[in-house]
């Protein structure tokens, strides 16, 4: 009876994180439009419905119910692993209690390893590398840099930051035992206005490299404080490319800030990817000031399309079964949805924020991302403890 495929986008559309949520929604809408322009999936149009979860896990569960009422069988979310965790749990319960109205949760950015680890669920698929995998990429790269001697870890004081602090120490110890961890600090989330005290600590520790999973203002303020104090270290980050962060970083970040991502715009200069070039230019033109940041959203939509076409149906169970273990070609290599835990394995890149960028600058700052290294999909894999329970029918 449904003539459209509805995808519920559950992310903050109001409040402090609305900017990020809004940008994600635009990615989805834009990509859905492209699919529809090509005739849709199985002849049906894809419709993206934005729901505002106000960054709250409870709110998201409420929305899940609402979405189920409205005939939404696919939900997607990214901002906040706490919300992601609630949704994994919520979808699981929902499917158990309503077997004739099931839902699939496509996660495009919540990176807590637990979501594909101890909390893993058959109905959840993650299209972003989880934080352990990103750290794998960072530490692999760091291990090759001979001049790195002293590393400082500074992270936000919640599970995401705590995990990074823990895993980074393990991985570095294994890969480069000679590197000294000269500091390991957790700071309150979103509460610190003045990072100078932390910068003083970094400075007095003599660190040459900082690894940080910080995002948003907690990252910008940190880097800015460092640059004002004349701190001369390299920053290895997850989210320096996140919406608004390049603007906030400005010159303070140039030359020092690195990030690990599955994509940044200048990659189209390094690889042959005409379709991506077209997308990024069209997108940016369309949404003045917002950049095409999430390649993984395209991967997500493409894999969903492929799964539906393979399954020949939009029925959640069939589609989920088709997604399991699926592989797909991208301009950067093959990506695989690992069957064991529904974690996507994809190539990752380390890039530097530099005034010397190939073509595209970031948010009009005159500074852009330059690729340093590529990590192949297989090398990013980290073992998972997931024991997946699969539905019988």
């Amino acid at each position: 009876a449904d003539d459209t495929i509805k995808i519920g986008y559950i992310d903050p559309l109001s409040g402090p994180f609305a900017n990020v949520g809004d940008a994600g929604l635009k990615h989805f809408k834009y990509l859905a439009e492209r699919i529809n322009a090509d005739g849709g999936i199985l002849g049906k149009d894809v419709e993206i419905i934005g729901y505002d979860n106000k960054s709250s896990a409870q709110e998201s569960l409420q929305i899940l119910r609402e979405a189920a009422d409205e005939g939404v069988h696919y939900v997607t979310q990214g901002n906040g692993s706490h919300v992601g965790g609630a949704l994994v749990d919520g979808v699981e319960k929902h499917n158990r209690r309503n077997p004739d109205n099931r839902m699939v949760f496509l996660n495009y950015a919540a990176v807590d390893p637990a979501l594909t680890g101890e909390k893993c669920s058959f109905w959840h698929f993650r299209f972003d590398a989880n934080s352990a995998m990103k750290l794998q990429a960072i530490t692999d790269y760091v291990a090759e840099q001979e001049d790195i001697k002293k590393v400082f870890l500074i992270n936000m004081d919640y599970s995401h930051g705590q995990a990074i602090s823990r895993i980074a120490k393990e991985m570095l110890k294994e890969k480069r035992p000679d590197i000294e961890i000269v500091g390991d600090v957790l700071h309150p989330v979103g509460k610190v206005k003045d990072f100078s005290p932390y910068v003083s600590q970094i400075q007095s520790s003599g660190a040459d490299t900082v690894i940080s999973g910080n995002w948003g203002n907690d990252l910008s303020l940190l880097v800015k404080a460092g640059s004002q104090a004349g701190l001369d270290t390299d920053w290895y980050t997850y989210y320096a490319g996140g919406l608004g962060t390049p603007t906030a970083l400005g010159k303070a970040g140039a030359g020092h800030v690195k990030m690990v991502t599955e994509w940044q715009e200048n990659l189209v200069e390094d690889y042959d990817a005409p379709e991506l070039r077209e997308i990024l230019e069209e997108f940016e033109q369309r949404y003045d000031g917002i950049e095409f940041y999430y390649l993984r959203i395209k991967t997500e939509m493409d894999m969903l399309q492929k799964a539906m076409e393979e399954a020949g149906s939009t029925e959640p169970l069939a589609v989920a079964q088709a997604l399991e273990g699926m592989t797909m070609e991208t301009p950067f290599g093959t990506v695989t949805m690992r069957e064991q835990d529904h974690q996507l394995l994809q190539p990752l890149f380390i890039s530097t924020f530099s005034e010397d960028y190939p073509k595209y600058d970031s948010e009009g700052t005159g500074i852009g991302w330059v690729m340093d290294a590529k990590l192949e999909a297989a090398d990013t894999a980290v073992d998972s403890v997931c024991e997946m329970k699969r539905p019988s029918s």
Partner: protein, 426 residues
Amino acid sequence: MSQSQTARGALLWHIGIWALFALVIAVLPYIFTSSSSISMMSQMGVFIIFALSYNMLLGEAGMLSFGHAVYFGLGGFFTLHAIRAVNDGVWSFPLELMPLVGGAGGLAFGIIFGSISTRRAGVTFAMITLGIGSMVESSANMFTDFFGGESGISGNRVTDVTLFGFSYGPSVEVYYLIGAWTVIAAVAMYLLTKTPLGRISNAVRDNPERAQFVGYNTTIARFIQFSLSGFFAGIAGGLFAIMFEIMTAPNVGLVQSGAVLLMTFIGGVGVFFGPIIGAVLVTYMHTALSGFSEGWILYFGLLFVFMVMYAPGGIAGVLCVHAAPWRAGHLWRLLPGYLLALVPALLAIAGLVAVVEMGYQLSLAYDPSSPIDLFYMEVNATSLLSWLVALLVLAVGIAGVLGAARVVRARWAEVNRSMQASGAKT
């Protein structure tokens, strides 16, 4: 003789009202059947209890608290831990009574924090509650075993241990559980206002000094009232936990505390049923409006500011002002004025909505030049004309409301005068 008769009459009247309240709760799911409206109504029930418990402080005892969510949230966490314990087979306790666990938690912390904060009154009290609220919120980061860090604690409400044999998996069953508790808690809190403690709380609110000189220790009175209010907040939290099966740190935080303050105030602190109206309305706005418009916070803020300025007694206060003319049979004489005001008021609202929506379209939309649906019309936010029209409508509406307000005021004066005249006769 006649006095006991009127007393019996009053009793019947009260029972009737509460029976009606229960009946409405029972019937609603047959009218609004979708699962999202069931879940919205369940939330309303939870917040009715929460707002009523807040009014035990603000309305009844004059204590302005900025940290009431502490008791609500902790109650929820306790309940959820208890449910997990039952699921783990560590404990056995029927789900129907789980809110009592929350109540006990709320009560316990009400006693602990109440013994600190109720020693002071007024702004000092308010600031202490703000401080305690912030402390508890930030301590959620330290006690991750209890609060579960930023992902919170989740559980499964289907426990096998129940009194009535329902599974409480389906949300309708949970709705009825919440509904039953709403009736029980609301009646209990209503009766509480009629007890010596309730009266003394009023006395302490009005004039703490005098209350001492009629034999009461104001600190103790405030303290007991505060603890009991924590108990009911805890029950609300427990139901909330059952409903969502997840509790997170913000549930004990300032935003949640602010929300209950807003609800209670918008509903009206002066009348018992005020917070009920507030809880229903705010929950509706929160869920429904945020789906309709990106600007829901703005609308919400504007509504609130408007209420504070023109209806400080809340919605219940507005209703109560009309009770006297209604009883005197003069209400109909006010109607024409209101009808006259209605049209321009709708115009003004329409104008405002248009302006705000177009503003959001311009600054945030997916594609600013794409037309938006406004009042069954397609409006283009990038065209100057639509802005002019919207502003014009807004201006005309406001002018009309101001004009109509004069009429309404004149009508009121008339009604007052004739009520006074007839009052003088009797």
